[in-house]
């Protein structure tokens, strides 16, 4: 994958994740930036995070196991994981 395609893909994933977060938790789209922490900045608790993950799995046809969830603290972490799982 080229650098520009990679950037485009990440932008698309962040936009998609913002839509998921808005649908599941009512999170405003402008707060969904790579460095935003799910719990610290977006007020997403552990059970809401499970709903977010399930919605992401359906949207991108990937599997995000619980072990992966442990290290997924920011929007950027989630985007990295989903991008890797799709590659």
């Amino acid at each position: 994958m080229t650098a520009s395609a990679d950037t485009a893909s990440r932008t698309e994933l962040i936009t998609g994740l913002a839509e998921v977060l808005h649908e599941v938790a009512g999170t405003p789209a402008d707060k969904v930036v790579p460095e935003a922490g799910f719990e610290a900045d977006l007020d997403i608790d552990s059970l809401t995070m499970v709903e977010v993950v399930v919605a992401c799995e359906e949207r991108w046809d990937v599997r995000i196991p619980d072990e992966a969830l442990e290290g997924m603290r920011t929007v950027g972490d989630a985007v990295d994981y989903i991008a890797g799982a799709r590659a």
Binding site: V50, E51, D66
Partner: protein
């Protein structure tokens, strides 16, 4: 051998709620948590905690006696006592023979059913089939749990979640059929997500895994239960899921698209998670409050440790 199948239904309900109610504050203090944190994650505001002289069997006798009285069925007429529980003090003996003895159900068989929090809906299906096939005339089905002594009071994830209590129903032959065919399911690959091990017994739970399984698999099971009963989910009068956590209930209600006209049991707020007792306790409450009336279709859905689940549509007695 006769091949005639009988119609079967619920004839009476009863419950036992411990008088000792415990709110979130003491639990929150001990686990560096807060009342608000507990409410947000579970919906729970208070729970019943059984006293030392209030055993799993004591509570089952109390709830079972009330259900028999409500049904107008004398204890001598009971053919079978089924008790769903996972909180007897030890593996043997089961609690149901003592319950049958103390209630005066002299002619009854007695057996405990172990299916974790889904125990009551499993036991109810077995009771219905026993009456349908004339193996039994009247079956007393009980869910009774004293889980709080098995919960680690310092475990932030589970200390606030559980409560004690018992609920019961009398199943017997009826003119119109009032208990649908059961639907059931398991995910034994996740068998270690909720366990009670050790001495003294200690409960351990992976709440996130159970939440994920429950919210993704239960809506389909609920729809299948309604299909078996020939009813659309939006035509139910009430939905009584296992009272595990209000967040699971709300998620399943949303996935099913239940309209506001369907009454949803939210007894977890006042009782905590009482495992196999939660469905009959919540059902009895709706009935006693007059929220559901005779003949109303109610979807019951048990689920929990195993992982295992079972559900059916019943007509309110």
């Amino acid at each position: 051998m006769s091949s005639t199948l009988r119609n079967v239904g619920l004839l009476g309900l009863g419950s036992h709620r411990p008088a000792n109610r415990v709110d979130n504050h003491g639990i929150a203090e001990r686990t560096a948590s807060s009342d608000e944190w507990i409410r947000e994650r579970s919906g729970i505001v208070t729970r019943g905690v059984a006293g030392e002289d209030e055993s799993t069997v004591d509570m089952a006798v109390s709830a079972g006696g009330k259900a028999l009285a409500a049904a107008g069925v004398p204890a001598e007429a009971v053919s079978l006592v089924l008790m769903a529980t996972c909180s007897m003090p030890g593996p043997l003996p089961g609690g149901s023979p003592e319950v049958a003895h103390r209630l005066g159900a002299r002619h009854a068989g007695a057996s405990d059913i172990g299916a974790g929090c889904a125990g009551f809906t499993y036991a109810l299906s077995m009771a219905a089939d026993a009456v349908r096939c004339s193996s039994a005339d009247y079956v007393l089905v009980i869910g009774s749990e004293k889980l709080t002594p098995m919960v680690d009071p310092d475990d932030r994830a589970t200390a606030f979640l559980f409560g004690d209590g018992a609920g019961a129903a009398v199943v017997g032959p009826t003119a119109a059929d009032g208990i649908s065919r059961v639907v059931w399911a398991h995910d034994g690959e996740q068998h270690d997500m909720l366990t009670i091990h050790g001495s003294p017994s200690r409960l351990a739970m992976n709440g996130r895994a159970i939440y994920r399984w429950a919210t993704t698999s239960l809506p389909d099971l609920a729809r299948r239960a309604c299909e078996q009963a020939g009813i659309e989910p939006h035509d139910l009068v009430a939905f009584v899921p296992h009272q595990a956590n209000l967040r699971i209930t709300e998620s399943v209600v949303k996935s099913l698209g239940l309209p506001a006209s369907v009454v949803v049991a939210r007894d977890v707020v006042d009782s905590g998670n009482t495992s196999a007792a939660s469905v009959p306790i919540a059902l009895t409450r709706l009935h006693e409050e007059g929220t559901i009336r005779q003949g109303d279709p109610v979807l019951l859905l048990g689920f929990g440790a195993g992982l295992t689940a079972a559900g059916q549509v019943v007509r309110c007695p």
